[in-house]
């Protein structure tokens, strides 16, 4: 165990203790696994995957905005979807990382709210141009089928 890991373990233990965290220490190993049975570690052995910093918070905020977009589209609340897209434009305008998602959700919103030649063509453009986007299948299904 390296020093950094030791630090993380101690940090996790402290976080757990100060927050009243109660781990599930009673979990029994499953008997249907080909891999070795898993034993729940002690609190001191657990670690938090990461701390929360402003940069992470901003990442989380963006992710949550897209989750809300999913929910708006699932309930066909297109006004809310467009409001969220506009909000993403204004609040995260500097963000390169999610640019294809912004375009993809725009295409999804257009295809679901206004199915027709124009939105289909826009969806086709997204599928053709954003070949590395993880939204491609959803746009294809919503716009081209």
């Amino acid at each position: 165990m390296n020093k950094k890991h030791l630090k993380l373990l101690l940090g996790g233990a402290l976080a757990a203790l100060c927050c009243g965290f109660v781990g599930n220490l009673l979990a029994e190993p499953s008997d249907d696994s080909a891999s070795p049975p898993w034993k729940a570690p002690s609190i001191a052995e657990r670690v938090q995957a990461h701390p929360m910093t402003p940069a992470r918070q901003r990442l989380s905020d963006q992710r949550r905005l897209f989750t809300r977009l999913d929910q708006a589209l699932a309930s066909r609340d297109f006004a809310e979807a467009r409001r969220l897209l506009a909000r993403h434009d204004s609040e995260f305008s500097e963000t390169e990382a999610w640019r294809d998602w912004r375009a993809g959700y725009q295409a999804l919103t257009d295809c679901l709210e206004h199915p027709g030649a124009e939105s289909t063509a826009a969806g086709q453009r997204f599928v053709d141009e954003q070949r590395g986007s993880t939204l491609r299948r959803r746009v294809r299904r919503a716009c081209l089928k």
Binding site: G23, M52, T53, R141
Partner: protein, 478 residues
């Protein structure tokens, strides 16, 4: 790709008496229908053949563009997807020529005859720079998971990079295929995986603590203060677009950072990023799975500690709520997740708030690592998988009335996960049948036959219709 499949159900009375397979629900059978359940006709066969040469397949449906070989139960969406969810329903599959398989996808016949299945879609392909780690079937009906690396020079791509990728997936203590990896382990047949090998000029990534700058493919960086590991997502997308076959839609993307054994950096943004070489390796795997919870399923951190930047008045993610009654996951309240995350309930603290936000379990994979995903999270993950993957890969064409077809067949994504209810003229013959149904013994006349394919997992308690799909045939028996 050819998979051995177990023999499945026979649908005759005599065979029911001699098989170990689940029996029909005879209580719902009328006497008339029982009488017509005669022994299997030898020429048609009733049993799934264990051998198949897999030959003959035309290119069939384009994996990306066409619904050609894929039955559709309403729209494909479910769970969180945007397109209106249709879930299951009688399908009106588009036509399409059929042959035994296509592009490496092999079908099994229901007996001696070649199955009359629709085209099965193209084979999974990672391109010339990719290495297939899991080929589970037609990419237009699987989650396609692509993993890249940053900070791996060309000489490290076949060695260190692949070690890190395989550790993420197959770590025997905390990887995807351990019980901690559920529900991925159960749905492993629903996921294709490839590693794309993109060389960096230097074997490192930018280190915000030391100021070290590295020339890498995706501009990866990290620091110990935030433990945030990031890449340039646009560069990742460009690489995927350039290297993956254009017909394949990539659903999940991840990047391993070659940040050495001491730097535990990661993030769960649009692309999942994890420190591939962090030691101990089980923690690298566990963190990758945690970050995938963010990236692939929109799960929240369930950390219960004070953070001045956190908004503790809203909780949009499926595994946190501001409602102390836990209505968001009411179906799981008091469920004993053992082994697992214990009693599901409403525990105060979550998403960086000590108060005002509630989580479903004392601990989970989205909290202190390592642990299981709790049930609301698992439920969401399964819905997300079914939003991409429909239960039926292919089936006997149903676009016209079939005259004396002998056998009807559905090809399941995973027969060990999915069950088939066969119905004739609205009467259920079995709720746990196989992929093949012998119709030769039906009485003369026209009949409607339905195969309802469903997943009876206990890990989903809401919107279960999203986990099933049906095909309807009209058959005419002379």
């Amino acid at each position: 790709m050819s998979k051995a499949r177990p023999a499945r159900t026979m649908y005759t009375r005599e065979n029911r008496e001699t098989t170990d397979e689940p029996r029909m629900k005879t209580a719902r059978l009328t006497p008339v229908l029982l009488l017509i359940l005669t022994p299997c006709v030898a020429t048609a066969g009733c049993v799934v053949s264990k051998s198949s040469d897999g030959s003959g397949g035309s290119a069939g449906a384009n994996g990306g563009n066409s619904a050609g070989g894929q039955a559709t139960g309403g729209s494909s969406a479910g769970g969180s997807t945007a397109a209106g969810s249709g879930g299951a329903g009688a399908t009106t599959s588009t036509g399409g020529t059929q042959s035994g398989g296509s592009g490496g996808v092999t079908f099994q016949a229901c007996g001696s005859e070649q199955p009359r299945l629709e085209a099965g879609g193209e084979a999974f392909d990672c391109g010339s720079s990719g290495e297939i780690l899991e080929d589970k079937g037609r990419p237009d009906n699987r989650v396609n998971f692509v993993i890249l690396g940053d900070g791996y020079t060309a000489d490290l791509l076949d060695t260190l990079f692949m070690e890190h990728v395989k550790n993420l997936l197959y770590n025997t203590e905390q990887g995807y295929l351990t019980e901690l990896g559920e529900p991925y382990r159960r749905y492993w047949s629903y996921i294709n995986i490839c590693a794309l090998k993109v060389p960096s000029n230097e074997a490192c990534v930018d280190d915000g603590d030391t100021g070290q700058l590295c020339d890498t493919a995706f501009n990866g960086r990290g620091d110990d203060t935030s433990r945030l590991g990031t890449v340039n997502n646009g560069l990742v997308h460009s690489a995927v677009a350039a290297l993956m076959p254009p017909s394949i839609d990539v659903d999940w993307e991840a990047v391993a950072l070659n940040a050495g054994p001491d730097n535990w950096w990661a993030s769960g943004g649009e692309v999942m990023v994890w420190s591939g070489g962090y030691s101990p390796q089980k923690h690298a795997s566990s963190q990758g799975i945690h970050e995938g919870g963010h990236t692939f399923h929109g799960l929240a951190d369930e950390y219960a500690y004070f953070n001045p930047n956190a908004d503790c008045t809203k909780a949009v993610e499926p595994n946190v709520t501001t409602d102390p009654s836990g209505a968001k996951w009411t179906e799981w309240i008091d469920f004993d997740h053992t082994p697992g995350t214990g009693t599901q309930g409403v525990y105060e603290g979550g998403r960086y708030c000590t108060q005002g936000i509630y989580r479903p379990s004392p601990n989970s994979q989205m909290n202190q690592l390592p642990d299981y995903f709790n049930m609301p999270s698992q439920q969401k993950m399964i819905h997300d998988i079914y939003a991409i993957v429909r239960p039926i890969d292919a089936h006997t064409p149903n676009d016209t009335t079939l005259n004396d077809p002998g056998v009807l067949q559905v090809r399941l994504v995973d027969p060990s996960v999915l069950k088939v209810e066969w119905l004739v003229d609205d009467e259920s013959l079995t709720n746990d049948g196989g992929e093949c149904f012998d119709v030769a013994s039906l009485p003369s006349g026209a009949h409607t036959v339905v195969a309802r394919v469903y997943d009876d997992t206990p890990w989903v308690r809401d919107s279960r219709d999203d986990l099933e799909q049906s095909v309807t045939w009209t058959v005419s028996i002379p």
